[in-house]
């Protein structure tokens, strides 16, 4: 086998894996704070891509203004959803809350179809096309930029969790809500914060994903791949999202190249089932001990 080709495929896989990890981060943030699996992350990602499209191509704003606006738009959607739908559902059966987010995903997808119709579109190019070479291996510039951005954002999140007050509050809430309350942490505030930051992250990831592959109302399927990532990595672990994302990205790239495109999803889902059988709470997830 040609080693250079293999290296290129692997690098491309790492690039898309970084995007998966970034999206997975949105799942992890929300799950950590509120114990909700938000299946609408994929649709919020799609919305981020479309908002960027609307601001840059529709209103003619420059890219440096459109990106923050799209990310802020995602955050606003997150705040709204948390306040209006998730807050009243707190304490309900987790499956019910999960289904609420499934419904939300459907609503967002329909809304995007209604506003921008179903045609796939390309985002205005803002990254340039000159390829990047690592050694001799060719990497598409967009994927390289995506990788760097995702890496920086994830590193930033790891630092924030470690050192920022809000990050520590989020970790405290995740480990014990009642204790966090009694320490004076504004737990509902933490919930809002987690949803806003997570949805903003997803919207940002949507811009990157859209820039690489174009946008369409069905691109929320990307969220399913990211869901596989968080299950393998562990639902409440940022590190798990990173490792799982890179792993899934590389495995998808290998499967897509060496077995054929239709094997992509089936490989990742088989990996998911295998991972669940061996480690039901993911590679880095917290093992919950059940008592009678």
């Amino acid at each position: 086998m040609d080693f250079l080709f293999f290296a290129e495929v692997t690098l491309a896989g790492l690039g898309s894996g970084a995007l998966l990890a970034l999206t997975a981060l949105a799942f992890v943030l929300i799950y950590k704070a509120t114990r909700v699996i938000n299946l609408a992350v994929g649709e919020i990602l799609m919305l981020g891509g479309y908002l960027f499209f609307a601001f840059s191509a529709g209103f003619g704003l420059p890219v440096w203004a459109a990106i923050p606006l799209a990310i802020a738009g995602g955050g606003a959607v997150g705040a709204l959803v948390e306040r209006a739908l998730i807050r009243p559902m707190l304490g309900e059966n987790p499956i019910s809350v999960f289904m609420v987010t499934v419904g939300l995903g459907s609503v967002l997808m329909g809304a995007a179809e209604l506003v921008w119709n179903t045609d796939p579109r390309a985002l205005p190019d803002f990254m340039g096309a000159t390829p990047v070479f690592i050694g001799e291996a060719y990497v598409s510039r967009k994927i390289a930029i995506g990788f760097v951005v995702a890496g920086v954002v994830i590193a930033l999140f790891l630092l924030l969790f470690r050192f920022w007050r809000g990050g520590v509050a989020l970790r405290a809430t995740a480990s014990d809500q009642a204790a966090a309350y009694s320490c004076g942490i504004n737990v509902p505030g933490v919930f809002s914060l987690a949803w806003i930051v997570a949805c903003a992250t997803a919207a940002g990831a949507g811009i990157l994903v859209g820039a690489i592959g174009g946008i369409s109302p069905t691109m929320g399927v990307f969220g399913l791949s990211a869901l596989v990532v968080v299950i393998i990595g562990g639902l409440d672990s940022v590190l798990g999202a990173l490792v799982g994302g890179l792993l899934i990205g590389v495995v998808e790239a290998w499967a897509g190249t060496f077995l054929g495109g239709e094997f992509k999803l089936v490989t990742t889902f088989s990996l998911l089932i295998a991972a669940l059988m061996i480690r039901p709470y993911g590679l880095f997830g917290t093992v919950e001990i059940e008592r009678l």
Partner: protein, 347 residues
């Protein structure tokens, strides 16, 4: 007000229909179901058959999700297994209609047991995601096992034949599909009066306690998966005879969400729930079509908006029911019935 319903024996207490009013309504329902095909036009008969098929599948999912507490997002894939089983048997072996339907259920049940194996180690949302994975893997099999499934182009199914008659129109199929569904709903209603059904409920309420009570968890969880996929398989088999072509796109992941949504909207853990939920969720998109037609003169491009509006309404229904009526339509019915039971008094 309901009076004079004191029960003197355990058998009377366990009856499915305990009051005379209930029996009367059930007779009315049976008459309506029998007479409906002679009144309705072809389009509404088509919808009635579709509702019946969806009710069968949703009832199966309710056994698993509503009564055993195992959330599954693979019901559509199990239906697909049943549909392909029917297509294969019908095309290759030419076995009779009822045998095919039964075999479809059994094959789906077998696949369901396989999918259910992780359920002992993982539960809750993790299990839901494992079933998502299983449904994508099954979808892959449908697409790529070309010798059996015909790949992307799918397989055609010959019209069902029963007692020498060809069942090709919705009118003829109605008389097969609706009784099978009724039988399956009756079976589900009876299941929860038996030891097995009660074990399922115990597992749902607290699985560790159920194990302490002497219910072997793996065995019963797998049994629940098998029963639920049996229902899905039979429903899928009827689906195959109804639409007469089965492709991998017939049972997308979205259909699994549809069934879970139907069970939730109808009411988890009730017999009435999936019936109401499946009917409601199947008919609402059709009603939307009428609304769009009615709005046609006002908004000229309302027709183009039909598909996205259906998607939005579908999602919104799930959200609205979960937030405002978490017990579903069955609870609304129960409230109405309670009003009449207690009538002169306030509920």
């Amino acid at each position: 007000m309901r009076i004079a319903t004191a029960k003197e024996t355990y058998i009377a207490d366990e009856g499915l229909l305990t009051t005379r009013t209930q029996r009367a309504w059930m007779i009315v329902l049976a008459l309506v179901l029998v007479l409906a095909p002679f009144v309705l036009n072809a389009y509404w008969l088509y919808l009635a058959c579709l509702v019946a098929i969806n009710v069968a599948s949703a009832t199966g999912l309710n056994i698993l999700t509503g009564y055993t507490g195992l959330v599954s997002l693979g019901q559509a894939a199990f239906m697909g297994v049943g549909a392909y089983a029917v297509a294969f048997l019908d095309g290759h072996l030419g076995t009779p209609f009822l045998v095919n339907i039964l075999a479809a259920g059994l094959v789906a049940a077998l696949v369901g047991v396989l999918v259910g194996v992780p359920s002992l180690r993982v539960k809750g949302l993790y299990l839901a995601i494992a079933t998502i994975a299983a449904s994508f893997i099954l979808h892959f099999v449908f697409t790529n096992w070309v010798s059996v499934t015909g790949g992307m182009s799918g397989v055609n199914v010959a019209p069902a034949r029963l007692l020498g008659m060809e069942l090709a129109s919705p009118f003829a199929l109605y008389f097969v599909i609706v009784p099978i569904t009724a039988l399956m709903v009756l079976g589900a209603a009876n299941l929860f009066r038996t030891r097995i059904g009660r074990a399922f409920i115990a597992i749902r309420d607290r699985d560790i306690s159920a194990e302490v009570l002497g219910i072997p968890l793996l065995q019963y969880k797998l049994m629940s998966f098998a029963l639920s996929s049996f229902y899905a398989g039979v429903a899928g088999g009827m689906w195959a005879y109804f639409f007469r072509v089965v492709t991998p796109e017939s049972f997308p992941f979205a259909t699994s969400i549809f069934f879970l949504a139907a069970v939730i909207v109808g009411g988890l853990g009730t017999i009435l729930g999936p019936i109401l939920g499946a009917a409601f969720m199947t008919l609402v998109p059709e009603l939307l079509k009428y609304v769009v037609e009615w709005l046609g003169p006002v908004f000229p491009n309302a027709g183009a908006a039909l598909s996205p509006v259906r998607t939005i309404v579908f999602g919104a229904l799930i959200i609205v029911f979960l937030v405002f009526e978490p017990q579903g339509l069955a609870e609304i019915v129960r409230r109405i019935r309670r009003f009449f039971h207690l009538w002169p008094f306030k509920t």
